[in-house]
């Protein structure tokens, strides 16, 4: 038929799947051939809006059903370096103006800093630390100077100019920019800095005379330097709050003042007596490379940093991110190990096979940058988050997908509970009438009359006070089911009152069929279509109620996400304005889902009840 061609092919395919191939028949003939069910389906699928809603809902449903397998939820997940990140995949996208002339890169928590061969600084990624502080606002004096070295801390950046001048910008409220007096003295005498490092609110420089200077926030971090090591230090490796130093004699020491009992000072026994040539650190562990190419890892290694892989050739250099290490071997191949949550250790195959010559390797937080001989920068690791992160550094996408699974499950099961109760009581009331009817309808009146949300809140609070997250989920299902059956009950009762007078019931009675059987086997199937409409609409209502309860803190508790409690805490102007992705995405997908369900329900009602079509 001509009109068929105009339809979207998916719609046509869907129709053909459920209704069957359309054949050209005259209207009378067609009417006779169709079962009532088919007529309903055809009517249902005739509206474009309904088809759209159905497709959208199925897409969301599929995402929620399959999604949790790909975006696995980790309830204890937390990362202080990834808090409140906006959506985007720009954390490792080096600006075009810098491509081909990279001289140094520093990878910070969520951003990158780079110097080109002209000594100019470039920034990329999420450089905004707070509302006021943005690392992309490079001070004018730094722009003017010719920068040779860079370091990126958690919320501050350090740059070293050609003339030995140090610049700090970003968050400087916790003394990140206050140089010590010894440093200033040494600088006056003319120093030659060999290493520049920055970590959580503190920074370090090593000079060619073997002196180590550290400055920044002393309250959290051990940044004192033991006098006896001064003048012998070749390199430092900074963890989140501590550091270790490599001495000129090839030994590694914990040079700070809190060496006792620190996991960083208990080095592996096998390492004793060996000469160390390179050290690297993650946020809580240290790796050391010996002159015979062996790698040792010690410290607090809870995320797989200690699982050192087999190396195909001697290791040349090692580098550390937040939870992973990367090593460059003599044959130019690159190996990463440690935590792989953000694919930090999935080295691109060209690098893993040693096909490219590596001139520079820059590792920080969850990012890796490899500078090859032809000036190209190859990156792997965390690019960013599609929907941003929340106030604990958790991926919003993972939480939305998993929260949807919880909300939909709770909604579906509570609808089933409510329908079972409603059909049973409504059937009994409708068929038997009299005292049973009065009693049941009075109960329904009371239950339906109570304000829903306060009542559900008190049930959840009183019964749920000693339950864990999972049990509370079941509790909410039961509470919602037990409180929302009254509508179904009334519908079934009214339908049965109407159907009871029909001829087929009289016929069934005449045949001597038991009354209960008549209600549930003969009348109920005739009510089924309307019941389906009712279930669809109350599915949306139950999801809404669950999310409202969770939003108020009386539903499913955090950290288990649901579409309701994702929005918990979003009602202040800071979150609404600055961290918009934390409420816009959950709200949008949830709103979309309930709108679609309601549209499907309305469409179904129009198809089932021809009278409502005229309205």
């Amino acid at each position: 038929m001509a009109s068929n061609k105009k339809e979207f092919f998916l719609v046509r395919w869907f129709k053909r799947l459920v209704v069957g191939r359309k054949e050209v028949v005259d209207i009378m003939h067609e009417e006779q051939l169709q079962t009532p069910f088919k007529t309903m389906l055809k009517k249902f699928l005739k509206k474009k809006t309904v088809i759209f809603a159905l497709t959208m809902f199925l897409l969301i449903f599929a995402m929620v059903l399959i999604g949790p397998k790909y975006w696995v939820l980790d309830l204890s997940e937390q990362d202080s370096t990834l808090i409140n990140l906006p959506p985007g995949y720009n954390m490792m996208s080096i600006p075009d103006s810098m491509k081909g002339k990279v001289s140094d890169i520093a990878a910070g928590g969520t951003y990158g800093l780079g110097i080109d061969t002209d000594g100019h600084i470039h920034t990329w990624g999420t450089t905004r630390i707070t509302e006021k502080i943005d690392l992309a606002d490079i001070p004018e004096e730094v722009r003017q100077a010719k920068i040779v070295k860079l370091a990126a801390g958690s919320d501050h950046a350090v740059a070293l100019a050609e003339d030995g001048q140090l610049y700090v910008w970003g968050n400087t409220r916790l003394q990140q920019g206050n140089f010590t007096s010894e440093m200033k003295k040494d600088q006056k005498d003319g120093w030659n800095i060999t290493q520049l490092e920055a970590s959580t609110q503190f920074s370090a420089v090593v000079t060619d005379e073997g002196n180590l200077y550290m400055w920044g926030n002393k309250n959290q971090s051990d940044i004192n330097v033991n006098k006896k090591y001064q003048g012998k230090i070749a390199k430092v490796a900074l963890t989140a709050n501590h550091y270790v130093a490599l001495l000129n004699d090839g030994s590694v020491v914990y040079a700070g003042s809190k060496a006792k009992g620190n996991p960083l000072s208990s080095q592996p026994k096998e390492m004793k007596g060996k000469t160390i040539v390179d050290i690297a650190s993650t946020s809580s562990a240290v790796a050391a490379l010996t002159d015979d190419g062996q790698v040792f890892v010690w410290g607090n290694t809870v995320r797989g940093e200690e699982k050192i892989p087999e190396f195909t050739s001697p290791v040349k250099n090692i580098y550390g991110g937040r939870y992973h290490f990367t090593a460059v071997l003599e044959d130019n191949s690159v190996v990463s190990w440690g935590n792989n949550k953000y694919k930090q250790t999935d080295v691109p195959s060209a690098l893993a096979n040693g096909e490219k010559e590596i001139v520079g390797m820059y590792v920080g937080n969850h990012q890796n940058y490899a500078l090859t001989g032809d000036g190209e920068v190859i990156t792997w690791g965390l690019k960013g988050f599609l929907l941003g992160t929340d106030d604990l550094g958790r991926d919003m996408l993972t939480r939305i997908v998993n929260g949807g699974a919880v909300t939909m499950t709770v909604g579906a099961i509570s609808v089933v509970i409510a329908t079972i109760i409603g059909v049973l009581l409504g059937g009994l009331a409708g068929y038997f009438g009299g005292k049973v009817d009065i009693l049941i309808m009075r109960i329904a009146e009371i239950v339906g009359g109570l304000p829903f949300i306060p009542f559900a809140m008190i049930l959840s609070a009183v019964i749920g006070s000693r339950l864990d997250s999972n049990q509370k989920m079941y509790l909410i299902m039961v509470v919602l089911g037990v409180l929302s059956w009254t509508g179904t009950c009334r519908l079934v009762r009214a339908q049965i009152l109407a159907q009871r007078e029909m001829e087929y019931v009289t016929a069934a009675k005449a045949m001597g069929i038991k009354e209960v059987t008549i209600v549930f086997r003969h009348i109920l199937p005739n009510v089924m279509a309307l019941l389906l409409v009712d279930m669809t609409l109350s599915f949306a209502t139950c999801m809404l109620t669950e999310s409202t309860l969770s939003y108020l803190g009386f539903g499913i508790p955090l950290p288990q996400p649901t579409w309701g409690n994702l929005l918990d805490g979003a009602n202040n102007s800071v979150v609404i304005q600055q961290y918009w992705w934390r409420w816009v995405f959950p709200a949008a997908i949830f709103g979309m889902c309930t709108i679609c369900i309601n549209m499907i329900g309305d469409g179904l009602r129009d198809a089932v009840d021809p009278k409502s079509n005229e309205r």
Partner: protein, 341 residues
Amino acid sequence: MGKYILKRCVYIVVVFLIVSFMMYMLYNLIPSDPARAELEPLRKDLKPDEYLMRYEALRAEMGLDDPLIIRYLRWMGLWTDTDGKTFNGLLQGNFGYSNFYKTDVVSTIISPMSNTIFINIFSTIAALGITIPLGIFCAVHKNGKFDQSTQVVTMLGYSIPIYIIALVFMFLFCVVWRIFPVMGMKTAGATYAPGSWEEFTDMLYHIALPVIVMTFGSLGGMTRYVRSAMIEALSMDYIRTARAKGLREKVVIYSHAWRNALLPIITSILGWFLGIFGGSVVIENTFSLSGMGKLYWIGLNNNDFELVLAIQMFYSIVSLVGALLIDISYGLVDPRVRVDK
């Protein structure tokens, strides 16, 4: 009619007793021991057997060892207090003692209750004032452009949870346009003479956004209901008769159709009215308004169950009396309905 109302009142009392007993039982499921809580500060100063004696005495004084039904009746004010003479319960106006606010429940409830009623009256008037004309217009101009777009908007209104609507409105009105304050009941730090005009306008300014959100949230369901009831009424034969008689369209719509459509609408207003009380829990929490919903939330979060119980009783009474009012107004609106048969 008088007899009917009397009958309904008896029914209300019975239902209220049942509901309150259920709530009281629920409340007693919580493991708590007020006697122990009261003696806890003295525990260190007392010898163990002395402590035990005092504890037992206090339990007896509080009547904690009596059967549940007696404690319930005592709380209700239908059983003599532990001294055996006086009645001291809900019926005597003793709503209990709030552990969290350290005062009588009555004095904690008064100001939030007036706030809630104040807000709800505003949003009720606004919502009815918008939905009824809108519903009638949509029904009369059925399937027109305006009707169809209203259908879409109202669909949004009842599909999206009220707190999401609140967030979106907050974003628009407080962040983008900066018309209204984000939360609170009055300007921080401002002092006005009690009962003055400035105090009143300041409060109006602060509750404007919550009222807008509540109104918007309740638009959806009501408009659809009014519309479908009106369409039903307009499709009746007597409308055709009225038109055939040559009556003006205004008379047909407002006098013939509307009065018949009112009946189902009144029923739905009840459910909606209760919904406002329930919904105000969300609204008051989102906007930090000190109303009944917020108080209820605070009470539940701080295990202040005497306060919670009192508010729950308030909700129950509102719903029961609301049902009665609806039934009576049925008879008033439609003379054909004889409620007192």
